[in-house]
């Protein structure tokens, strides 16, 4: 152990070294030797940990302090707040818009992400798999502005599909056409924004689940195969149960990204009142509302935007806590 003897030799500040050998005659407990390397390391990790908490608390405090004006207005004169009927009437359509778009993105992206991850880890030919994984990771590197531009281009091409949806599935409220029987003719609706979001969160879910699937114990896979499982049965018996908690946390991270995504939604969505239908223009998400109004906001309006930011902060916090709870509940013990 040349390194450890070296550090003790060069480090006189290694604390009071207790008796190195033999029982202590005075009956006091011998102190454990503390090496400077360990001290520095533990201090560094402690600082890093505290820093994260401090930043998080700082953000929360800032949001709260800046929201004060809105809170005061809500108490003294609710009609002063945008919309004219108080803060909650203003914020809840935005919350619904945010949750709906993120939920759609998650529902669309998760099956694809799991499929791609399973394909690259367990089905793809050996040579193809790494290349495919690399391409998926590249999706994560595309700036969201580019996704926004692409989404606008996509929107125009989706109108035909939306007309078809409204014609055949219009009886479902979310696919209902507008009052005049038509759908948005630019296609820049919440559904388009959600579909673009789903592609944006695809790489994060894919690469996390891929890592999880790669860690399936070989012995578990062989246990299934030796019983005469086909490849799909092996995946169902060994890979998926083992990866359950990982899949849950990966989708929650994807959800977190979808909730906070701003640029692409702000560019694609032509915002408006909350409507149940996803095919007509309307609806808005919190992040995009902030981005679109922030440059011209001042005074109470600015404080309003910051307080809806606080609401978003709380939502993401809750999502992460839910993710933790799910992971703790579903993680597999044993081999």
């Amino acid at each position: 152990m040349p390194t450890s003897t070296q550090t003790t030799a060069t480090g006189p500040a290694a604390g009071a070294p207790g008796p190195a050998l033999g029982p202590d005659v005075h009956g006091t407990k011998p102190k454990a030797v503390i090496r400077p390397g360990d001290r520095i390391f533990s201090a560094a990790t402690l600082i890093a940990g505290i820093l994260i908490l401090a930043i998080l608390a700082g953000v929360a405090l800032f949001l709260l302090a800046q929201s004060k004006e809105t809170i005061d207005a809500q108490i003294s004169d609710p009609s002063a707040i945008t919309g004219g009927s108080g803060f909650f009437a203003y914020v809840w359509p935005l919350v619904i818009g945010t949750l709906v778009s993120s939920a759609i993105a998650l529902v669309v992206a998760t099956p694809f992400a799991l499929g791609i991850a399973l394909f690259t880890t367990h089905m793809a030919p050996r040579r193809l798999a790494p290349a495919l994984g690399y391409v998926i990771d590249l999706l994560a590197a595309i700036p969201s502005v580019v996704y926004g531009l692409w989404g606008i281009a996509l929107a125009g091409n989706l109108t035909g599909f939306y007309i078809w949806l409204a014609k055949w599935f219009g009886w479902i409220p979310i696919f209902a056409p507008g009052a005049d029987g038509s759908v948005s003719n630019t296609g820049r609706t919440l559904l388009t924004a959600s579909l673009v979001l789903s592609i944006m969160i695809l790489p994060i879910i894919t690469s996390l689940t891929r890592e999880i699937f790669l860690q399936t114990p070989r012995l578990q896979e062989e246990a299934a195969l030796a019983l005469g499982a086909t490849r799909w049965e092996m995946i169902r018996m060994s890979v998926l149960p083992f990866g359950k908690s990982g899949i849950a946390s990966a989708t929650m991270l994807g959800l977190g990204r979808a909730l906070g995504e701003t640029m692409a939604v702000a560019m694609i969505l032509s915002p408006g009142m909350l409507t149940a239908s996803l095919l007509v223009s309307g609806n808005q998400t919190i992040a995009s509302e902030i981005a679109q109004n922030f440059p011209e906001a001042a005074g109470l309006r600015l404080s309003e935007l910051i307080s809806i930011g606080l609401v978003l902060f709380v939502i993401t916090l809750l999502v992460n806590m839910a993710a933790r709870a799910i992971v703790a509940k579903t993680s597999v013990k044993g081999s």
Binding site: A229, F242, S335
Partner: protein
């Protein structure tokens, strides 16, 4: 319920590397055959070719014939999945499915065969398989608890129960006791003795006393040096191998003089 295995000129490869060369062997039904030899001599590799688990490893391939009651399991159009349903396997380390209960573990293979079991049939089969693996009395009150809560030896017997629940023709065991204490080992050895009434059992072991205790026939594999293929040196009745082997190499190995 039990098949004869004929191995003819079996050569096994990992990519370009030849791991095993020219194995010829006939394994009789309802017998226990032990594979012994130093590490890396290819005995586990040969065992894994008997249920086509060898090819699960990327780049692995096989040349030669393995006949089960006369039909080649490497023949054209033979589905490895069907081979594995007839040839059960128990691994070096117990590997029950961690998310399944004891009962679900036992029934895992049967459910794969797309059989619909009534509850009575399922209960009956669970009891039969667990009795067959000498585990019933220890677990009958906790069939719905996870299999991972059992001791190492019990988990290994659970894996044996899982393998015999599908009523295979042949049972392969890859060092089934190497991670177990002597008492659990004894329990498994007793079990192997019972199993040979119904199945063709092939066991790989590093423990020569174990081979001597449980097997009818013993195959000794050896390797000439690193990078060279493993070979079957001698295949004979266990009593002959351990008392009066024909080859000097075998004699040296079983008496502890290597090389």
């Amino acid at each position: 319920m039990s098949k004869q295995i004929d191995i003819k000129d079996l050569n096994i490869y990992y990519g370009d590397f030849q791991a095993v060369e020219g194995v010829e062997m006939q394994i009789k039904p309802r017998s226990v055959t032990a594979f012994i030899g130093p590490s890396g001599c290819g005995k586990s590799t040969v065992l894994r070719t008997l249920n086509r688990m060898h090819e699960v490893i990327p780049g692995a391939s096989v040349r030669g014939e393995v006949l089960m009651d006369g039909s080649d399991i490497y023949g054209a159009g033979v589905d490895p999945v069907n081979v594995r349903r007839e040839v059960g396997m128990v691994f070096q380390r117990a590997n029950p499915f961690p998310t399944m209960s004891i009962k679900e573990n036992v029934l895992a293979g049967v459910r794969l065969n797309n059989k619909r079991l009534s509850k009575a049939e399922a209960d009956d089969l669970t009891e039969r398989a667990l009795r067959g693996a000498n585990l019933w009395n220890e677990v009958k009150d906790r069939l719905n608890l996870p299999g991972s809560g059992l001791s190492g030896g019990q988990q290994q017997r659970l894996c044996i129960a899982r393998a015999i629940a599908v009523e295979p023709e042949v049972l392969l065991m890859d060092e089934p006791c190497s991670a177990l204490d002597p008492i659990s080992t004894l329990a498994i050895e007793d079990l192997i003795n019972d199993l040979k009434d119904k199945y063709t059992v092939v066991i790989v072991t590093h423990n020569m006393q174990q081979a001597a205790r449980v097997s009818d026939k013993t195959a000794f594999f050896n390797i000439a040096g690193t990078g060279k293929p493993g070979k079957l040196i001698e295949f004979n009745d266990t009593s002959v191998i351990f008392s009066n082997p024909e080859k000097e190499e075998t004699e040296n190995y079983i008496s502890g003089r290597f090389g």
